[in-house]
Every structure is written in structure tokens, then in C-alpha cells.
């Protein structure tokens, strides 16, 4: 039973990270109808930058909290710049082109970012310096570290902030209008280009935070980490209903739970035939299942037949 609760806790932590990344996918898709394939790499850049700053400051004598904050600020700033440039260079010129063209540039950008990271940080795994407090708490026989508590809380806070931004502010209204119907929004005085840039910047900021969380949670970062994470976060966005903010959150948390419970129990369920190294296939089976049986996602609006 305590294994079950432990897996639930792990799933929640993983799920909050997925949710943060999924928000980036879903916002961009909601507004432009485009899968930003390079988003996973933005997460990776965030993790790498944060890690580099932490390594630089680890012996500076500053309090841990301040170091993390500086690292986070640096990562967020770099990722915002990266996100903005991606949109400006690779997507904006192709807005009127057919869908495959931005998809290919997205793949190209993804390859560029990955290999830039490889050039800058090398192909080795980077260990996260052990500066975080490692106090553990017991809940129903399972353990949860204060880092995990912090991840879940910060993720929840950021998501709430984003939902308030989108539903309660002028900017959010402009974003919703653009996502509803860009030409009409433009006629109503919304500067679409600005809104789209802004969407990318916000998504990238969330990605930077998620990147720091992932590297802190697994105590590791490397140039290839963004790819799988991006795919899973995208799955989470689709699961919840792509284009839907609450859906991304729900999808992320559900996917985290499915993955950690699945990985924990697959061995028993299949009589040892499939082991926990099949963890990565759950996301894809979930994705395929959702798209076949409920393409609009759990709480998404109906997707038009001609995507």
C-alpha cells in the first residue's frame, strides 16, 4: 500500500512538471494551431542555464535560496529570449505557408538548439550540485522530500497565476480573442504579432521553471533531455484537450500518475514479461488511445474534422 502512495506522490511531482511544459504547447497551439516542436529544447536550455549559474555560485557563500532565485531568473530570461527568437525567425515568416513548412522549421530549430547545447555544455551528463535541503516527510508510510513539495507548490502557483492572467486581464482577453479568431481580433484592435510573441515568451518562461525543476528532481541535466520530456508534455496537452489551459494541467498530472503507477505495476501485471524500462511507452499508448477515442481530449472543445 505504501508503494502505491509513493507512486502517487512521484506521479504528482512528475505530473506538475509535465503540466508546466504542456501549458507552453497548449497556449501556442491554441493561438496559432501549431505544434511548437522546439518547446522541449527550451526546457532543456532552461535546465542547462540554471545548472550553470548554480555551479558558478555554489561556492560564493550566498544563501541557497538566493542562488536558486538567481539561477531561475537567468534561466527564465534566456528562455524568454530563445522563445521569442524561435517565433520570430522560424514561425512568423511561415504563417501563411501550409502546415508542413513550420513543422519542418520547428524540427530544424529543435536540432539547432540541441546541438548548440552540445557545443556549449558538451555531451556529458551534468550533476545537479547537492545544495538543496534534503529533509524528508512521512505521509501514510511513503516519503516526500521538501524539494518535491516545493515543485508541486510552485507549479500550482504558476498555473494559478497563468489562469488569472488569461481570464482576468486585458492581455489575457486579447490572447483569448486571438485564439478564437485572429482576423477578427485584429479588426478589434488586437496586435496579433505582439500577442503571439507574448504567448511564446510566457510559455518559455514556464518551460525554464520546469527545466530547473526537472534537473533538481532527477539531479541531472544533459543536452538531450528536452526531447522525451517535450513529447510527453505534448501528450499531456493532447490528453487534456489541446488549446485548453485547464486541460493541460489536468492532462499533465494524469499522465504523471499513469506513468509512475504504470511503471510501478507493469511487472506484476504482465507476470514479469514487461519491466519498468517500458515506462516511456505509456505516454504513447495514452496518446494513441486518446486520439482514437476522444480526439478533442478530456475537456477540450470539439476539434474540427479538417485539422
Amino acid at each position: 500500500m505504501d508503494i502505491f502512495i509513493q507512486q502517487i506522490i512521484n506521479g504528482l511531482v512528475l505530473g506538475s512538471i509535465y503540466a508546466l511544459v504542456a501549458l507552453g504547447y497548449t497556449m501556442v497551439y491554441g493561438i496559432m494551431g501549431l505544434i511548437n516542436f522546439a518547446h522541449g529544447e527550451v526546457v532543456m536550455i532552461g535546465a542547462m542555464v540554471a545548472l550553470m549559474v548554480i555551479k558558478l555560485l555554489v561556492n560564493s557563500g550566498l544563501p541557497v535560496f538566493i542562488i536558486i532565485l538567481i539561477a531561475l531568473a537567468a534561466a527564465v530570461a534566456v528562455c524568454m529570449a530563445v522563445g521569442y527568437s524561435i517565433e520570430r525567425i522560424a514561425y512568423r515568416p511561415l504563417r501563411r505557408a501550409p502546415k508542413l513548412a513550420p513543422l519542418i522549421t520547428a524540427i530544424g530549430v529543435s536540432i539547432i538548439l540541441q546541438n548548440l547545447a552540445m557545443l556549449v555544455w558538451g555531451r556529458n551528463y551534468h550533476a545537479f550540485p547537492p545544495i538543496l535541503p534534503t529533509s524528508e516527510h512521512d505521509i501514510f508510510g511513503a516519503t516526500i522530500t521538501s524539494l518535491q513539495v516545493a515543485i508541486v507548490l510552485i507549479a500550482a502557483l504558476m498555473m494559478t497565476g497563468l489562469i488569472i492572467l488569461i481570464h482576468r486581464t486585458r492581455l489575457g482577453r486579447a490572447m483569448r480573442a486571438t485564439s478564437e479568431n485572429p482576423p477578427i481580433a485584429q479588426l478589434m484592435g488586437v496586435n496579433i504579432n505582439q500577442i503571439i510573441s507574448f504567448t511564446f515568451v510566457i510559455g518559455s518562461a514556464l518551460a525554464a521553471v520546469a527545466g530547473l525543476m526537472v534537473s533538481a528532481n532527477y539531479s541531472i541535466a544533459h543536452y538531450y533531455m528536452g526531447f522525451m520530456l517535450g513529447l510527453k508534455a505534448f501528450t499531456a496537452a493532447v490528453l487534456g484537450g489541446i488549446g485548453n489551459i485547464a486541460g493541460a494541467v489536468l492532462g499533465g498530472i494524469l499522465l504523471g500518475l499513469i506513468e509512475s503507477l504504470g511503471a510501478g505495476y507493469i511487472g506484476d501485471l504482465t507476470g514479469g514479461f514487461l519491466g519498468s524500462h517500458y515506462q516511456d511507452i505509456f505516454a504513447f499508448f495514452v496518446l494513441i488511445g486518446v486520439l482514437i477515442f476522444r480526439p478533442s481530449g478530456l475537456i477540450g472543445e470539439k476539434v474540427s474534422e479538417r485539422a
Binding site: 505544434i35 501550409p98 502546415k99 522549421t105 516511456d280 511507452i281 504513447f284 499508448f285 485539422a307
Partner: protein, 373 residues
């Protein structure tokens, strides 16, 4: 072969054009026949291997072109079918299971099995279009790779990440392509022999795709790509035609996979990762979707360019800075990514687009942001 077809078409219209076309065909035939000897003596055997691989990639790109270019179904897990063909060959002709079945049996079996996998992928995804289909097929490709990676326990089928080695080379009627072959006093080295085999098969696939393109089925694919609802209302059985696209595309991949296994003598899951799918997709899109010469051009360019970067990145840095500053491998992929972005920005229809698609690109969409809605 293409020259031959051109001549065939032209014969109906114009005698002089026909003669020109036949001359072009003969000239091209001679060039293709002596090409491996030129490459082999001028650049060495490593480049000849690359040429052989280019042939395999052309086959793959042409197969994917049926799915993506003709039918407009964005498949990002195409390499899975290549993997199916390759692993089938590896399992049936290697010491792994002690089986050594003949090639003429395995390659068609690979085509059939890959075709079945194609139908398996196609059936549940018939309703999906565009990006969604891309992601599902991508997931499918990854699932196949993960299974190949892990099916070594409890029963060892694929030998896991180590892969299968010692695969029989391609051999036909007692002649093996792994050793130099003597024909009428000439000695054809192994790499050259593979070149000719791959060339013949690639030309065969080119021939099949050209005939398909101008057939009833090919037109149905294009109709579905242009407007599925309209195609349906014109009496096209969209379900079967789409499944056919998946199956045919996949079977080409299966053939190429079998050849790859025999040529390489070794297969491992690493050869079938997502990057390879992306590579093949880029060949199709960059070359010019739906246009057979364009796709062939894309296949050649994307096989040769990364190799040029690979061979050039080190020496050029040595010459410029006196030492290797940047990892050549990362640099080559960086340049590759840049090339993808730049080509798409300046030629969104590909380097050599088909006439239909070029027309589409000229048509202005009234919607500012969302295309096709």
C-alpha cells in the same frame, strides 16, 4: 528508368523528342553504370558506401513520399517499417536463431510484414489529420524502437540494445555480394555490386511510384490530400485508399530495411531512432513533396550533405584555427538544422516542387493565420 518513361510518353507526341529522350536515357545509363568506379577511385570506398546508403535513403524517401507527398498523411514514424524489414532479415538470416533463409524469400516477406505494420498503424489513425497524425505516428515509431530495445528478456528475440550481428550478406544463387565478383574477366568489388543491386531496386521503386502517381489510385491519393471531403463525395473510398497509402509506403520501407540489414551485416535499435524518421521526412519535404525527382534530389542531398559536413568540419577548423574548436559531430547537425530552417523559409514548397503544389503555393489564403480551415 525515368528517361525511359519520358521517352515512352514522348513517343506518342513527337518523334524528335523521343530520340532526344532515348539519347538522354542512354547517357544517364552510362553515367549511372560508371559512377561507382569514378567515386571509388576519386574519393575512396567510404564515399562509395555513402553512395550505397544514398540509394537506400532514396528508396525510403520514395516510400514515405507515397504517404506524405501523395496522400498528404504526415507520417513521422516511418523508420519503424525500415526497422521491421531490417529486423526480419536479421532474424531469418543470421546466427542469432541459426536460420539462413534465402534473400529472395526474406525481402518480399519483409515488404509484406512492413505492409501489415503499415495497415496496423493506418487503421486506428484514419480519422486523424495533420499534426495529430504526426504525433501518433511518431509515438508508433518510438514504441517499435522501445520494443526492439527491450525484447531480449524473458525470451531473447531482438537481442536488446546490442543488436544482431553476423547477418548474412545479400547472396543470390550462390553469388554473395560480400566478396568481389568476377564477370567475364571483370572484377566487381563488393561495394560496387551492392551499388548495382540497390540501383536496380531503386529504379524499380521509381518506376512503380511513377506508374502509381498516374494511376487511378495515385489520383485518389492526391484528391484526398487536396480535400478529403470532396474526394469522398466523388465516390472515393477514402478509408481503403488511405490504408493502401500506408501499406504501400510501409512495404517500400520494409524492402529498404532488408537490404540495409544485408548490406550492413548488423542491426541495432539505435539505427531506427526518431532522428532517422525525421531525416527521411526532411528528404521528402525539402526535396519537394509529391514530386518524384524532387524527392530523389532530397534523398541524395540529405545523405551526402551531412557527410560532407562531417568530413569537412574537422579539417576546415584545423585550417582556420589550427585546432579543432567545436565538436564536428555537433557542428554538422547544427549546420543541418540551419539548412532545414533556411530552405523552408525561402522555399516552403521544397527545392523541386511538383507543378500542382507550386500552383497551390501561389494561391493566396484569405485567412491570416490558420491555413486550411
Amino acid at each position: 528508368m525515368m528517361g525511359f518513361l519520358a521517352s515512352f510518353e514522348a513517343l506518342r507526341h513527337d518523334k524528335r523528342a523521343a530520340i532526344a529522350a532515348i539519347a538522354a536515357t542512354v547517357a544517364m545509363g552510362i553515367v549511372l553504370a560508371v559512377f561507382p568506379f569514378i567515386v571509388g577511385s576519386a574519393l575512396g570506398n567510404s564515399w562509395l558506401r555513402i553512395v550505397d546508403f544514398a540509394m537506400l535513403y532514396i528508396m525510403l524517401a520514395l516510400g514515405l513520399n507515397i504517404v506524405v507527398g501523395f496522400a498528404g498523411l504526415l507520417d513521422m514514424g516511418y523508420i519503424a517499417f525500415y526497422a521491421v524489414g531490417a529486423y526480419l532479415y536479421a532474424l531469418l538470416a543470421s546466427p542469432h536463431f541459426g536460420l539462413h533463409l534465402p534473400v529472395w524469400l526474406i525481402i518480399p516477406a519483409g515488404a509484406v510484414l512492413a505492409g501489415i505494420f503499415g495497415a496496423l498503424l493506418g487503421a486506428p489513425t484514419l480519422r486523424l489529420r495533420g499534426d495529430y497524425l504526426a504525433i501518433v505516428t511518431l509515438g508508433f515509431g518510438e514504441i517499435v524502437r522501445i520494443f526492439l530495445n527491450n525484447l531480449n528478456a524473458p525470451v531473447n528475440i531482438t537481442n536488446g540494445p546490442q543488436g544482431i550481428s553476423g547477418i548474412d550478406p545479400i547472396h543470390l544463387g550462390g553469388i554473395t555480394l560480400a566478396k568481389p565478383i568476377s564477370v567475364l574477366g571483370f572484377t566487381i568489388p563488393s561495394l560496387h555490386a551492392y551499388y548495382y543491386l540497390f540501383l536496380v531496386l531503386a529504379l524499380g521503386i521509381v518506376f512503380v511510384t511513377i506508374r502509381l502517381e498516374n494511376s487511378r489510385i495515385g489520383r485518389a491519393w492526391v484528391a484526398i490530400r487536396e480535400d478529403e471531403i470532396a474526394a469522398k463525395s466523388c465516390g472515393i473510398n477514402t478509408r481503403n485508399i488511405k490504408l493502401l497509402a500506408f501499406t504501400m509506403g510501409a512495404s517500400f520501407g520494409g524492402v529498404a530495411g532488408g537490404l540495409f540489414a544485408g548490406f550492413q551485416g548488423f542491426v541495432s535499435p539505435e539505427s531506427f531512432n526518431l532522428m532517422e524518421s525525421v531525416m527521411v521526412l526532411c528528404m521528402v519535404v525539402l526535396g519537394g513533396m509529391g514530386n518524384i525527382p524532387g524527392v530523389i534530389l532530397g534523398g541524395i542531398l540529405l545523405t551526402v550533405l551531412p557527410e560532407v559536413f562531417r568530413h569537412g568540419a574537422g579539417p576546415v577548423q584545423m585550417a582556420l584555427f589550427g585546432k579543432i574548436l567545436l565538436d564536428p559531430e555537433a557542428l554538422r547537425m547544427l549546420l543541418f538544422g540551419l539548412a532545414l530552417v533556411v530552405v523552408m523559409l525561402y522555399r516552403p514548397a521544397g527545392l523541386w516542387p511538383s507543378t500542382t503544389r507550386r500552383r497551390e503555393f501561389k494561391g493566396e489564403s484569405t485567412d491570416v493565420l490558420k491555413e486550411g480551415e
